[in-house]
């Protein structure tokens, strides 16, 4: 699951491969063949060239929380495939496949956790699950997590990895944007902090709703941050994209995020923010 960019740090190819577990993985950026264990130890950053690989939600959770502290929130009951959608593959089948491939129920994993001893509600999206897209299930899990955070007065931490809305749920997925913003307002009403961590990719309807209005917004170094995809922009407007467009650095320079942090320092950064923000006193 490597993330590829061109030399001017622009074009990006997303490849969500099968969940095979080969011993060796090739880095698409530098061509290096890397021992999988080694890659894992390096938090899925290429030891040779520094390119970022995807992190699954469980891997991301493990990289951020105190060991053994994550306790998943009970999953909500939702009506699946509300539109009876079918393209080349029926949506229900896509869902089943994604569940098998990722061993997750939806594209987000939410639970209680501790980060260096500080209790938080943490939600982590998983790009492997239908592109981390937000449908009713994801919206519901996120809303429940935020309501829990407001009630328990714990900071809410969200790791975004999403291509946008779940097309197969039509307008219902579009309206999840409103749902998660409504839940975000309950955090504000309770005076509870919300920290977003934007990773690769943070785009579309997720960035244009819950991802775009955190109290603190941290970008992972390898993140892609933007509303519209680079291809859509080029095709619709004919504009040439500047170098580094929609990178974490671009977002920082344009006032969109508070910090850009390498993956290895993400937990440290989160702890720095939480230790100032957490707690009433």
């Amino acid at each position: 699951m490597p993330i590829r960019r061109d030399k001017r740090d622009r074009y990006v190819e997303i490849e969500v491969g099968a969940p095979a577990e080969p011993l060796w993985v090739r880095c698409e950026s530098c061509g290096e063949l890397i021992f999988r264990r080694k890659l894992q130890e390096n938090q899925y950053v290429c030891p040779r060239c520094g390119a970022y690989f995807f992190l699954s939600a469980p891997e991301r959770v493990a990289s951020l929380v105190d060991e053994g502290s994550f306790e998943e929130l009970p999953p909500p009951r939702i009506e699946e495939d509300p539109l009876g959608f079918s393209d080349q593959v029926p949506y229900k089948e896509r869902l089943s496949r994604a569940r098998v491939e990722t061993n997750l129920n939806e594209a987000v994993l939410a639970g209680r956790a501790k980060v260096q001893g500080i209790p938080v509600i943490l939600a982590v999206m998983d790009f492997r699950f239908i592109g981390g897209s937000m449908g009713v299930g994801v919206g519901e899990i996120l809303a429940l997590a935020m309501e829990r955070a407001a009630e328990e007065r714990k900071p809410f931490v969200l790791v975004v990895a999403s291509g946008g809305a779940r097309v197969q749920e039509g307008v219902l997925s579009l309206l999840q944007m409103v749902k998660v913003v409504a839940a975000r307002e309950t955090l504000a009403q309770a005076g509870v902090p919300y920290i977003a961590i934007l990773t690769y990719p943070s785009t579309g309807g997720v960035l244009a709703s819950i991802g775009g209005i955190a109290d603190v917004t941290i970008a992972e170094e390898g993140a892609l941050i933007g509303f519209a995809g680079p291809r859509v922009i080029e095709q619709t407007t004919g504009e040439r994209l500047p170098p580094g467009f929609q990178t974490a650095k671009f977002a920082l320079e344009h006032g969109i995020v508070d910090a850009v942090v390498p993956r290895a320092k993400l937990k440290e950064e989160l702890v720095r923010a939480l230790s100032v923000l957490a707690g009433e006193g």
């Binding site: 909500p76 009951r77 939702i78 009506e79 509300p82 539109l83 959608f85 079918s86 393209d87 080349q88 449908g135 009713v136 919206g139 519901e140 809303a143 809305a165 779940r166 097309v167 197969q168 749920e169 039509g170 307008v171 219902l172 997925s173 579009l174 309206l175 999840q176 944007m177 409103v178 749902k179 913003v181 409504a182 839940a183 307002e185 579309g204 309807g205 960035l207 244009a208 709703s209 819950i210 991802g211 775009g212 209005i213 933007g226 509303f227 519209a228 995809g229 859509v232 922009i233 619709t236 407007t237 504009e239 994209l241 500047p242 467009f245 929609q246 671009f250 344009h254 006032g255 969109i256």
Partner: protein, 315 residues
């Protein structure tokens, strides 16, 4: 001959009869009445059971009632506000104050333009970041003045451009949704034409969402869905069916509160009639909403969106 071709033929005949009657001072009213009845019946049969894809085409017509002319007809004395106070003024997303049925409202609406020059200038109603930052600013003014907020939606989507990204269009859209959810007065959204994804939902987080009969509201364009999911834009028609983007489908899903009927030929055949139908519907909902105390309004608004798509919602 298709129904539309037959319709055109009959309409040409009617025009000819009218011209004859006028030029030669003849009374052809009986003949004309029969012909016009036939035309009306044909229109009904053509438009009654339009396919989703046909409605997509209708919703996108450049002569569809919307934008500034619509607002000027809808309101007594529209006063426009311009500029986001930081970056600039976006002609694709407009707003201001107006009076409807004697009551003050704040308005926000997309401007698509009808001539090619207008369309180019307003980017076919695709608003950029500063358009949505302006919308936020106007919502703030409306909140200070406790004005009900009326939004009129007709956009293919938010503008995908380099400057839009540089000015944080995603954050602007999210902020508009947030601001609408907090608005301290009734809010009504009307989807007049195309309700295209994030650019539409930014203005649609209202207490009541109404749609014209042939308007569409969708997470993605049928063409976009086709090329992503079917890997072939030719499947747009099939995507349109699957996306459940028509007013009728969305009413059934509980997403839309009222479908406002259009004249048989579509809204573009009767601009003033469409304006009047929208005015009546808006006034009806504003009146209903105005009886609710603010805290209940906000509670109901929260509940509506908190549970959208959850098991057990819908009509």
């Amino acid at each position: 001959m298709t129904g539309e071709e037959r319709l055109r033929l009959l309409e040409e005949k009617a025009a000819e009869l009218r011209r004859l009657a006028q030029e030669h001072d003849l009374d052809l009213s009986a003949e004309l009445a029969v012909l016009e009845q036939k035309i009306a019946a044909l229109k009904r049969s053509i438009y009654a059971e339009l396919s989703p894809w046909a409605r997509v085409q209708l919703a996108r017509r450049p002569d569809r009632p919307s934008g500034l002319p619509f607002v000027q007809a809808l309101c007594a004395g529209f006063y426009e506000l311009r500029g986001d106070r930081i970056v600039g003024d976006d002609p694709a997303l407009r707003g201001g104050f107006g009076k409807i049925g004697g009551a003050r409202v704040a308005l926000l609406f997309h401007q698509r333009g009808t001539t090619p020059e207008e369309q180019r200038q307003s980017r076919f109603g695709m608003a950029s970041a500063h358009g949505y930052w302006k919308a936020r600013r106007i919502m703030e003014v409306a909140a200070r003045l406790r004005l009900p907020l009326l939004t009129l939606i007709n956009t293919p989507g938010a503008y995908p451009g380099v400057q839009a990204e540089a000015h944080n269009i995603a954050g602007a859209i999210a902020t508009c949704i947030w601001q609408m959810l907090r608005h301290p007065a009734p809010t009504v959204a009307v989807i007049l034409g195309e309700g295209g994804s994030g650019g539409a939902v930014a203005l649609a987080a209202a207490d009541r969402v109404l749609m014209l009969e042939n308007a569409t509201y969708s997470v993605i364009s049928p063409e976009g869905a086709a090329s992503i999911l079917w890997k072939d834009a030719k499947f747009a028609e099939k995507a349109a069916e699957n996306l459940k983007l028509t007013a009728q489908d969305l009413w059934a899903l509980g997403v839309v509160d009222e479908v406002i009927p259009e004249p048989p030929g579509g809204a573009h055949t009767d601009f003033l009639g469409t304006v009047e139908a929208v005015r009546q519907a808006v006034l009806h909902h504003l009146r209903e909403l105005s009886t609710k105390p603010l805290d209940e309004l906000l509670r109901l608004r929260y509940k509506r969106y908190r549970h959208v798509g959850s098991a057990g919602s819908g009509h």
